[in-house]
Amino acid sequence: MKALWIAATNLRRMFRVRTNYFFVFVFPMALILVLGATFGGSSTPRLGVVAQRSGPLGAALVRQLERTPHLRVVPVADPAALLTQVQRGSLAAGLVIPARYDAAIRAGQGVTIRYMARPDQSSQQLGETVRGAVAQQAALLGAARFAVTERSASSFSAALAAAARVSPAVPSVAVTETTAGTALFSRTLGQFDQGAWTELLLFLFLISLTGAVALIETRRLGLSRRMLATPTSPGTVIAGETLGRVLIAVIQAVVIILGSALLFGVNWGQPAGVAAVVILFALVGAGAGILLGTLFRTEQQAVGVSLLLGLGLGALGGCMVPLEVFSPTMKQVAHLTPQAWANDAFTQLVGHHAAITAILPQLGILAAYAAVLLALATWRLRRVLVA
């Protein structure tokens, strides 16, 4: 009961500072939005296309490119802007379809379209995709041109119309695509899903670590001593401080989960599983935060170290770049962090629609982290309180 009051005071103090609302709720949500909008869903390469005044055939080529899988077409106004954007990396590559493209082809002239790529390989490799799309359109154009050369049509336009008419009846040479291997990335993830859970984990841990700052302040002001002078046992004080940090994390998680689900339509997976991961992860964070608070003397030191640890472990645990793309060695190192296990659990819950029973191993490891960190934190806190 007294522990609840100590926890409630923790909460009250946290949310009395208005900027904390920003760091606890608003900023993580903004990140989910920005990440989703920027990289969301898949990392489809973006091809900038300049097709000003290229005529109906130019437009047809653009449509052909738009139909090409694994490619996103971004219209760009002029070649200079295209070059800059490709150079700065905001576009994977660029394509310039010349003005009068349509007219030149109809006049029987050869047309050259320019493919702009940076020296890096992914930019260059995309050239194959562009050439494939151009070849598909060129099948029709080539046939029409051939008909004109063979004098079986009066004009290019008539030949093009004839080729288009004949085309469906011609048996085609096709390419089929299948996949092999077990998907690391779920294909059912929504645009904001992965960003949402990784940011949630990143910020839950970061905010929990800053609990160290509050704890150091409580000690510095002599408030812990005062609490211990009341008929309140050190165990109750420790339980109260821990509960306070866990509650803050849980409230943060609830707001972010509900907010992102309502605002961005994020899918979070089975509620029981999500609740289990969040609560265990909040316990891990609370343990880490309190432990940190007993190891440092000043609030400034604690802020610096919690930023370093929170962001560093977050990155290592797959909260910035998904674990799936880590090298095998790095993946092993990553699984020293609780974030990696929580990320794995969410991948199962959200990506593979797993139930809580499927993530029991991850939950077990998170529980072990929580138990060890909380035990260490309690031991240290008891020492610094009852010194």
């Binding site: 009250r12 002001l221 046992s233």
Partner: protein
Amino acid sequence: MAGERMLECRGLRRSFGDLVAVDGVGFHIDPGEAYGLLGPNAAGKTTTISMIAGLLEPDDGEVVVAGQPMTTHARRAKDAIGYVPQDLAIYPDLSARENLVFFARLYGMPTAEAKRRSQEVLELTGLADRAGDQTKKYSGGMKRRLNIGIGLLHRPKLLILDEPTAGVDPQSRNAILESVESLSGAGMAVLYTTHYMEEAERLCDRVGIIDHGKLIAEGTRKELVSLVGERDHVRMLATGELARAAAALAARPWVHEASTPGEGIDLVVDDARGNLPAILSDAAAAGAAIKSVEVTEPDLEAVFLHLTGRALRD
């Protein structure tokens, strides 16, 4: 229960590494008594108080509060104590009322009672009209009053104040002393630590003098002063026939010592105030021209000097 002591501590001992902070301290406080623990900085006052308030386990010895043994886990003993730490242990970002209600709950009061009692303390400390403001916006004096108020919430039998006037302006200091006087007058036992002699003299029924972790003397002011002898010192700055004047004065029965250290005459006398006219006329008659007179009655400062050979504040 007649004869039950409010506080009894025996043979308290505590060291931090090689440093022996408290070395065999023992004293008691009776109900309604105000006890001053007097000593210079780092004498062991705060360590002693921490063990009495159950914040620190003694290496040796025991503390009994209102018949209950005190440990860091003792509930009943802690219930009897109101602890006012030297630091301003209040939440800066909570209001005075929130601070009070929080600690009232930690003293085990139900919510309604915690609120009622907080209001009473707010009125008692004169903070009622700013009760809703965050305490970081308070003046130093208001924070001090709240700091003491928190210690009074659960109507403790023994109030422990650890240097409550350290670094406080004279006006706030006087207000604090007055409130302690009235609490003590109302029958609350008080344990008060200070390194200000005049506070101990003014407030406390009995005083313990602590130095280097040891309680070196204890008793009422009168008892302690008798250690240095209840004789007054008179120091006169004078010119002229100093030796003759000293000899004349030495002949008086109530003069115990008379000396001429350079520019004046020093006397050790009984009842300096009553005998001052006679001293002055004797000196003048012997041909000494007196410029100034300083009378010193023995006080705790002198006691401390006598016991340790050092001044309290140096």
